[in-house]
Amino acid sequence: MKVRELAHARTGDKGNISNISVIAFDAAGYARLHAQLTVERLARHFASLAPERVERYDLPTIRAFNFVLHGVLAGGVTRSLALDAHGKCLGSYMLELELPDDWAGSGCGR
């Protein structure tokens, strides 16, 4: 299952750092993402951007996570050569991440 079926996302940027929120549609989705959307898995998904460091912050009160990817914006919006210099599209790419299907929890989905 892709993250997209469990959550929505928005991307922000500050300098050369991208932050991507992942917000679960419901409690079951949050539980699964909490277990499966690890920093390591996410770093592999974004490997082509060669993040220097990835951090995850959990916000259980709103069933959300904030991922902070350092060094992924080609120098940041003012000097990046990228077509999407803000990295605005990265959140949609996050939703494409495929989660392992060995999840034992129940009641997933929207």
């Binding site: 917000i23 709103i62 919006v77 077509l83």
Partner: protein, 443 residues
């Protein structure tokens, strides 16, 4: 005072104007904030001021104020905006002219100076947060340095009963937090309340981004009426809790989902959101439904404000040249790749020095490099490169354009551009080195 209503009329410099007029006309608001100053915008504005001492404020200030000042004046709505950018004094003078042209009188226009700390940054040794190098290593390439001011000078202007308050660089949430703190008379070292005022400001600062703008994803997150998206307003109670809502009948939506996305927008550690006024803690915020298009926000906290202020330094950083051309139909990807190879080889052959180059096929690998493997019906070849001179930058687009008669078959729709890069770096400066000042003009 039990509750105040604050609207957000812009989330960036080029934002729509009619939703702000709608808020002023029908939002029953007491304050209307306009956040129009991105990190890169102030450096570009400083560049404009270098060539014209009366320039350097927001390019849409005229259009925006012509549209909203009459209704705000009529309804007693105080306007707070950072449209002053690099030149709040000139922005205030221009606003006075506009008010006169509109026949408005009895208007007090305040502007806030003191965020420009260029002289200070040139004279002393400051470390750049991004690289650890001294700011002096940028030498005469530095064109601007602006410290992020907090809400204090805005509150001072509110106490002076200003009708329009124009700032340069201030922390974005302060535009909205200042009237909350002013109305309720909160002590500015009540960190929990400063955190709550800051979360309201942060939620409002991007305008339509919390009312369903930048949110729609058909089939997953449907939003009605995006062409007439309503901008948000907050009803803030004396205990600091707030409801985010919008004008009834406007397009868009306000839900816990839209508010969650905006809560985390451009945030790193949610428990440590640094502003000049407080280290805000959003990690325990709750977003509760409170009726249709109404979401209650509670639970923000805070700790003592940082000792030093963040400073954005703008500096000249060479040029970017770019060219694009499209290939479609049979073999489009192969011809596109050939085009990129030709341009790379030509730039090497003709000795165009690029510090960095990016060659890609839009529709195949421009957004998620190395990830796409599907072959589309068309691609757009794009080459962008960083150079020391404008002349060298121009060569890149010229080589793309020359593909018309020298490259693969069937290229079409070539475009090219050159722009000077004004990059931004950050440093920290002691509060004591910054002296905000409020000045007033009257009509």
């Amino acid at each position: 005072m039990t509750s105040i209503r604050i609207g957000s009329g812009a989330g960036y410099s080029g934002d729509r104007i009619d939703p702000a007029v709608e808020l002023a006309e029908h939002g029953d608001i007491r304050y209307l904030g306009f956040e129009c100053l991105a990190e890169r915008t102030i450096a570009l504005a400083q560049l404009a001021r270098l060539t014209d001492p009366d320039a350097g404020y927001d390019p849409l200030l005229d259009a925006r104020f012509r549209a909203v000042l009459p209704v705000c004046h009529r309804r007693g709505i105080t306007v707070i905006t950072n449209m002053g950018a690099a030149n709040p004094a000139a922005a205030a003078r221009r606003t006075r002219e506009i008010a006169r042209e509109l026949g408005l009188s009895g208007l007090k226009i305040a502007y806030i100076a003191g965020d420009d700390v260029l002289a200070r940054v040139r004279d002393d040794e400051f470390e750049l947060m991004e690289t650890g190098a001294p700011a002096s290593s940028l030498g005469d390439r530095i064109i601007s340095a602006n410290a992020y001011l907090g809400m204090a000078p805005i509150i001072e202007a509110l106490r002076a009963e200003a009708d329009v308050i124009i700032t340069g660089r201030v922390a974005d949430p302060a535009l909205f937090a200042a009237p909350i703190v002013h109305e309720f008379g909160w002590p500015t070292d009540d960190w929990r309340r400063m955190g709550q005022a800051t979360v309201v400001g942060h939620l409002l600062e991007c305008a339509g981004q919390i009312t369903g703008g930048y949110f729609a994803d058909p089939g997953y997150k449907d939003v009605a009426g995006l062409a007439r998206l309503g901008y948000p307003l907050a009803e803030v109670d004396a205990d600091g809790s707030a409801v985010i809502t919008k004008v009834a009948g406007s397009g868009g939506c306000v839900t816990p989902a839209t508010c969650s996305e905006q809560l985390l927008y451009e945030i790193h550690d949610p428990a440590r959101y640094l502003t000049p006024d407080v280290i805000a803690d959003f990690s325990q915020v709750r977003l509760e439904p409170d009726g249709p298009d109404r979401v209650r926000v509670v639970g923000a906290g805070g700790r003592a404000r940082p000792e030093r202020l963040k400073v954005s330094i703008g500096y000249r950083d060479g040029f970017i040249g770019e060219g694009q051309i499209s290939y479609g139909g049979a073999g489009a990807v192969e011809r596109g790749r050939l085009a990129l190879d030709i341009v790379r080889e030509r730039l090497a052959l003709t000795g165009v020095a690029c510090d960095e180059i990016r060659a890609e096929l839009i529709g195949l690998n421009a957004l998620f490099e190395g990830q796409a493997d599907q072959y589309p019906p068309e691609v757009r070849a794009r080459v962008a490169g960083r150079t020391a001179s404008a002349q060298a930058a121009a060569c890149i687009g010229n080589e793309i354009e020359a593909l018309y008669t020298n490259g693969p078959a069937g290229g079409g729709g070539s475009q090219k551009s050159v722009r000077e890069v004004i990059a931004v770096a950050s440093t920290l400066l002691a509060r004591s080195a910054v002296s905000p000042a409020v000045h007033c003009l009257e009509v």
